[in-house]
Amino acid sequence: MNIIGPDALVFGVDDVEACSQYVTDYGLEPKGNGRFEALDGTAVIVLPKDDPTLPAPLATGTSLRKTVYGVADQQTLDAIAAELGKDREVKQLDDGSLEAVDDLGFVLGFQVTVRKALSLAAEVVNAPGSSALRPVNTVGVQKEASPKPRSLSHVVYFVPDFAKAEAFYADRLGFVTTDRFHHVGPFMRPAGTDDHHTLFFIQTPPHMQGIEHFTFHMGGPTEVMQAGTNMVNKGYQSFWGPGRHLFGSNWFWYFKSPFGCNMEYDADMDLHDDNWTARELPPGADNSQAFLFQYREKWAPMGPPPGK
């Protein structure tokens, strides 16, 4: 199944204004009708929780109402319709997309992807010995910058049965497990991307089922730091980070949000193909990150002039 990754996350929220302002400050571009896009056209869609076009919510009240996957072509859509149609209703929506419910109750959409091909340089670092350097006389950082999220990276679900979730996405939709935390859940990627994960499950009691966080890719670690610093300066509160994960190697910075879940910036995630063998580790702080920092206000070691 040539599923590429999430094209959009659809939310039903209490406070549309706060959530809209939040994702705008996060760096997504408002496109109208509650749609906020990254540079490649992947999006978050913010609607009032009682909007009649939204699928029914999970009993837990999570604000995530639908995860829309982008697929390579109509042939893939037809294959998904045939596969999922074996044992569940697959709706054909007016826009040509499919809608079905996974084995845990999450509503999924499938559409021929809206992702636009990006042609943007990644952050390039200078290091002795490396042949890939920034051009001479090109400075690496600006004092002020508002880097934009490039592409919807991944979504993380709290689930009551990660094995059931993993089996559904692997067996029915062709996702591959890249790594896993013992007794917590797997990191998975669909067949149409090399990204370490577009989906991760965290085992929880049933009353927690829902979205844990969502993430967009940035152009590099400096963009994660500057975008996160901009969020702090706008009054948003950090949840975790900045730091760098071990599984996936992605730089991260998480913020709490009015969606009732966390929002992350990530950058420089590992790429894998079918030659990769999934690793497995116990969960916990030591295996979650290579390092972790905490924001502080700008400061410099400036005192009075010498001799005064």
Binding site: S63, F158, P205, H207, K234, G235, K256, S257, G260, N262
Partner: protein
Amino acid sequence: MRQTVPLCHLDDLADGSAKGFDPQHQGSDTVFIVRSGDKVFAYEDKCPHYRGQTSLPWRKDAYLDPFGETIVCAAHGAHFEIATGLCTAGPCLGESLTRVPLQIRDDGCVLAELNDNNVGGESP
């Protein structure tokens, strides 16, 4: 060891609003107050989920839902009763926020009784 620290004046708290405070200068808010009619309730700004390692709001003072009816942790959407601190939905269902005792002086000054050991630090 406990200390009594002034946080604000009653008039600083609008009905149906919440406000965070950093009385021990930790660098971020560690206590918040919710005003509901004539009553005020104060809790440590620590979600019981993850054993108090995260504060609640997504931006300063954003402790309540848009209707001012319930306390919300923005990290994972836990809901808490304003009057009791009991989690009624979300990750820490059945657990409670830690109450901070308040004193309200005749002149309207609101003081918190803080425990040196558990405000701004790690809860058990």
